[in-house]
Assembly symmetry: C2
């Protein structure tokens, strides 16, 4: 599906009225955060000491099935919030801090 999220859009919400196109794009990004499972997965990747997290260590603590976790991680990757690198049998995820910063900036007045 891969909705190809744009990185360039969107003034802060207090900077003027959002046009429909930007609103759709931004809403799509917030939609990614609008799920408990994804928020938990994101926080796991964000707070791991080594900077990267193996998919194998996400399934059990998340309390979701393996296919569900895989699905959510794909959504996070497509949204640009994390990167996935496959090494051997394992998939390693890293946070993309700039993407969080971008979202923070949108919520500025």
């Amino acid at each position: 599906m891969k909705t190809e999220l744009n990185l360039t859009c969107c003034e802060p919400v207090g900077a003027g009225v959002l046009d429909e196109a930007s609103a759709v794009e931004l809403a799509g990004l917030f939609k990614v955060l609008a799920d408990p499972a994804r928020l938990r997965l994101l926080s796991m990747v964000a707070s791991v000491g080594t900077g990267e997290m193996c998919a194998c260590d996400l399934v059990e603590p998340s309390g979701r099935s393996q296919p569900t976790v895989s699905h959510h991680m794909s959504v996070l990757v497509d949204a640009g919030l994390v990167t996935r690198e496959k090494r051997g049998k394992w998939a390693w995820y890293r946070l993309v801090p700039e993407r969080l910063t971008f979202l923070r900036d949108v919520l500025t007045l």
Copy 2:
């Protein structure tokens, strides 16, 4: 419906793994922002010069029907992002900046 959103929860996402309850609560808040119509309505209220905005001035520019706008504004009010004050026949909305700040802080590492 009024999901009674809590104001007290949630460390920054990078501060540790979110527990399920906090994740549900936070996701509920992001869900409010995960809709183009609501984002536009919020940006209209956020960027009005006088600080308050009449519901009557939201319907036509939002491109949605009056019931739909009323619905979305209720969602924004319930989420604590705006306040509603009824004066006479009109409903006036004001941004709650602290609520946006709260969300910004959650996205901090």
